[in-house]
Amino acid sequence: MDRFPKHRVLPYGLIFPSISIIAIFLIYPFGQAIYQSFHRINPVRRQLVNVGWRNYVDMFQSSEYLNSFRNSFIFGVIVIGLGLAISLGIALLTTQRIRGAAIYQIAFIWTYAMSPIIAGVMWSLMFDPSIGLMTHVVGNLTGYWINFFNDTVAAFILVSVASIWVMLGYNITFFVAGLQNVPHELREAASIDGANTWQVFWIITFPMLSPTVVFLLFVNTIYAFFQSFGLIDVITMGGPSRATEFLIYKIYRDGFGRMQEGQAAAQSVVLFIIIAIVGAIQIYTSTRSAVYER
């Protein structure tokens, strides 16, 4: 099969720039990471020492790593599950026929336009143990004074809430777009047949929304495991006592702060494998259950 007769070389020439960018910026560094993961680098004299599987073995024996592993997954489940549920709820509300629906939609969506750094500074000031507005509101109402500087649970919740909040706008945008594609007649017909609001949602709206849900699940997984980095760096820097040192942040700390590049490389290889598996499972199972037919 010759799709481009007379142009044998041109197609390769055309894809060459993209392929070379991928090779230089993704494949080569990834190969380097795998190579480094079997070495330790003398932090001050820069020699590579081959240590075989020691980085991997040490990793799974280190309570810090296992702790980070567990926390990352709890964080992922909270941010993805709760984040998607809340945004779907808000999207449903703002697509109701109410006055000023567009204003509400915009008001909820704009959080995504904010850089994670600004959002992080905002949240950490709001909950600053001494001068935070919300700290005082919560403290005066409940008598519990939040100090996320040393309270591991408070720090974990704060980072989770802030991460959900930052991603809300993005999720709502896609849910609103998805909801607007659900034919009104179908919902109306169901209501006439006697289905209540809840049944209409589960039987008509949600299945028709499933491609959007699948897409958002994937994007939010990437967000929770990789892109939450900026927020964590601004709010807690992985602390207190490593409670918010999630996998991606630990890689950064180990590689660039603690001068343990080999160990960080091994962790990044493991993280890559985890994400690849999670992503594949998600796409596989959900594309089968998602309804793409109209």
Binding site: R45, D128, S130, N147, N150, S241, F256, R258, M259
Partner: protein, 440 residues
């Protein structure tokens, strides 16, 4: 016509390029990486711009590398591939690793390399001691600080306490804190930045070493000295103060400054480099005063507080021309007016004795007595013991992190001995691995 234009254009281009390269050949530009963020950045930029204006052929180009930790990691990674700057400012935590790296020219050899003699006696003694190895200065003094107590004098008056006699010991600090809380002046009385550095400072202040091998100054340390009888007492005290609500954990670096500035805390233990920021922010809202760090008990002999901040290192791959520019820059920094400008706008110590004298003669220390506190504290302390000079170790970043981890546990009411022992075990393991690397 078009052809002629094209040719003219080409000719102009060639001429410009060759002229530009001719000019460039004479200008030596030295790259200078530093970590001076925030208000300090403007002050540094001004000093560098003034230096560059002096001699158009000797130029310094600054680049902010981010946090101090990142600066060290970047320098170590850039040096083997020859991408490192000729000049870099690094923090005290980098000292052990950078000395061991063999990537720098020790500061004391630089004057010799440019063919002049230079009197290191003109620099303030404790700074030189801190950055010295075997009696020779290894990095150039620039931005030195130490820790001290900042306090809100108005709060003390409100609680019926005498602002002229602030607490001098941890017991007194505890009592003052309880009195302030009881009087309803504040909810918490004390917080500090850099908790790990405060712990290190307490050891040095009581003339106790942090690790073996002469506090890391005679060799590569193999284990830390803590937990010990002293840290038991100190951390128990901190735990008690946390339980009473007197001490609240104030975060890793400068987070607690905000609380102090807005009058939510009476006492703040922080680096002197925050002084000008705090004075400017507080303005006339309340009276800011400063005093020496508290001591635990007089059964321990006196040591000194620790030098922090950053000092300048020169890559051993710098060219002779670059070295000459760097030395000119060093000489420029030592000019009293430059040193004074730096001190008055950042809170860092003046580095030279000449600047110090001029400041004193001009009445600066009576006019702004808060600028004298930390200085007097460090000048009046001991300088002839390894403990007072401060520790040196290669895996400093992690040692600090583990130490901080224990302090956070103490602030949450966990058992101090157990917490510190766990951290010590982790640090000792890291020291062993580091030493293994160094010997290979």
């Amino acid at each position: 016509m078009k052809k002629v234009l094209n040719r003219t254009f080409l000719l102009v281009l060639v001429l410009t390029l060759s002229f530009a390269s001719l000019v460039n050949a004479e200008v030596v530009e030295v790259e200078f990486w530093h970590g001076f963020s925030g208000a300090r950045l403007e002050v540094l930029e001004k000093i560098v711009a003034d230096f560059n204006a002096l001699n158009p052929k000797q130029q310094i180009r600054t680049m902010l590398y981010g946090t101090y930790e990142e600066g060290l990691a970047r320098f170590l990674a850039a040096h083997p591939v020859k991408q490192e700057p000729a000049l870099i400012g690094l923090y005290e935590g980098a000292m052990g690793a950078i000395h061991d790296s063999g990537m720098i020219i020790p500061a004391y050899q630089i004057p010799e390399k440019v063919g002049v003699e230079w009197d290191f006696g003109q620099y303030v003694r404790p700074i030189v001691t801190y950055y010295s190895r075997d009696g020779n200065l290894w990095s150039w003094p620039m931005a030195s600080s130490t820790a001290m107590i900042y306090y809100n004098a108005d709060h003390l008056r409100e609680a019926g306490l005498d602002p002229d006699s602030p607490p001098t010991s941890w017991d007194e600090l505890h009592e003052y804190g309880l009195a302030l809380i009881e009087a309803g002046v504040v909810k918490h009385a004390l917080a500090f930045g850099w908790p790990d550095w405060m712990f290190e400072n307490q050891l040095a202040l009581h003339n106790l070493e942090y690790c073996n091998e002469g506090n890391g100054r005679e060799g590569h340390p193999t284990e830390v000295s803590w937990p010990n009888e002293f840290t038991d007492k100190l951390l128990t005290k901190w735990g008690d103060m946390a339980a009473d609500g007197v001490w609240t954990y104030g975060g890793v670096e400068y987070d607690a400054n905000g609380a102090f500035q807005s009058g939510e805390l009476t006492f703040l233990m922080q680096s002197t480099s925050s002084l000008d920021g705090i004075l400017r922010t507080v303005g006339d809202d309340f009276e800011v005063r400063t005093t020496f760090l508290p001591r635990l008990s007089e059964e321990y002999t006196r040591g000194n507080t620790l030098i922090g901040g950053s000092s300048l290192y020169v890559s051993n791959q710098a060219t002779q021309e670059e070295l000459e520019v760097i030395f000119e820059f060093y000489k420029y920094l030592a000019r009293p007016e430059v040193d004074i400008y730096w001190h008055q706008n950042t809170g860092y110590f003046p580095s030279t004795n000449a600047a110090l004298q001029r400041l004193m003669d001009g009445g600066w220390f009576t006019e702004s007595r808060n600028h004298l506190t930390a200085f007097l504290q460090i000048l009046s302390g001991k300088t002839d013991s390894h403990a007072a000079a401060g520790m040196k170790l290669g895996m400093f970043v992690q040692a600090r992190e583990w130490n901080r981890d224990a302090i956070e546990k103490v602030s949450r009411g966990e058992d101090q001995r157990k917490a510190l022992q766990y951290s010590a075990d982790q640090v000792n393991k890291l020291l062993a691995e580091y030493n293994e690397f160094i010997q290979n």
